[in-house]
Symmetry: C2
Subunit: 124 residues, 2 copies
């Protein structure tokens, strides 16, 4: 399975999913899949910009975790009025990021990212 198939599978399984990427901590997406219906939505237009910003913040959290005794960061979510963003670590260099509508299935999204992250890791 390629990255793209994993991303398609995530977006397909989660109600309200807008888009999913494998992203590096430098803010550059390796691969992205966008839900077809979402392509026309303004929300999706802002995703890339938001995620670059979030990648930077996630990178800071990761550095902070190294000095704190909280253990490695596994998952971060940022819920704003128009968008839920879930990020799940894959390797020290890459993470999965999923954008959801605020009405999307948050619990399912967390679950699907958690089980898909090791599969993506195997291909990196």
């Amino acid at each position: 399975m390629s990255f793209l198939q994993h991303l398609e599978s995530i977006v397909g399984q989660v109600d309200g999913a807008i888009a999913c990427s494998v992203m590096g901590f430098d803010g550059i997406a390796v691969e992205t899949h966008q839900a077809p219906a979402a392509a026309a939505q303004t929300a999706s237009l802002e995703l890339t910009t938001a995620w670059v910003e979030y990648a930077n913040i996630l990178s800071q959290l990761k550095s902070a975790a190294e000095t704190l005794k909280t253990g490695a960061i596994a998952e971060v979510s940022v819920n704003s009025d128009n968008l839920i963003t879930l990020m799940r670590m894959v390797t020290p260099e890459y993470f999965l990021v999923l954008g959801l509508k605020p009405t999307g299935n948050y619990g399912k999204a967390r679950y699907v990212l958690r089980i898909t992250a090791p599969k993506v890791k195997n291909e990196l």
Copy 2:
């Protein structure tokens, strides 16, 4: 009801809660309640340091949200190996932060923070 009573109520309602604070974006806690059993745990010793770091990151997310079209940030969670941290905005200056064991009730924690935030807001 004082801040402290709200914080006690949050910690009391959520299984696995370690501590809860009302915190400013400058990283200074206004009020904190720690679960009695948690006082002896090493996890709680690291909470304050972690939260100061998180407050700084939350502040950056808030600034980012102003330039992005994702709407205002409502909730951020950072899940690491030894600690789940949930942050819920109260006002543009203050937020609630709750530390949970990784085995704690994440869903209940989100719910309780969501319903308690407006009550805390009324007293700020």
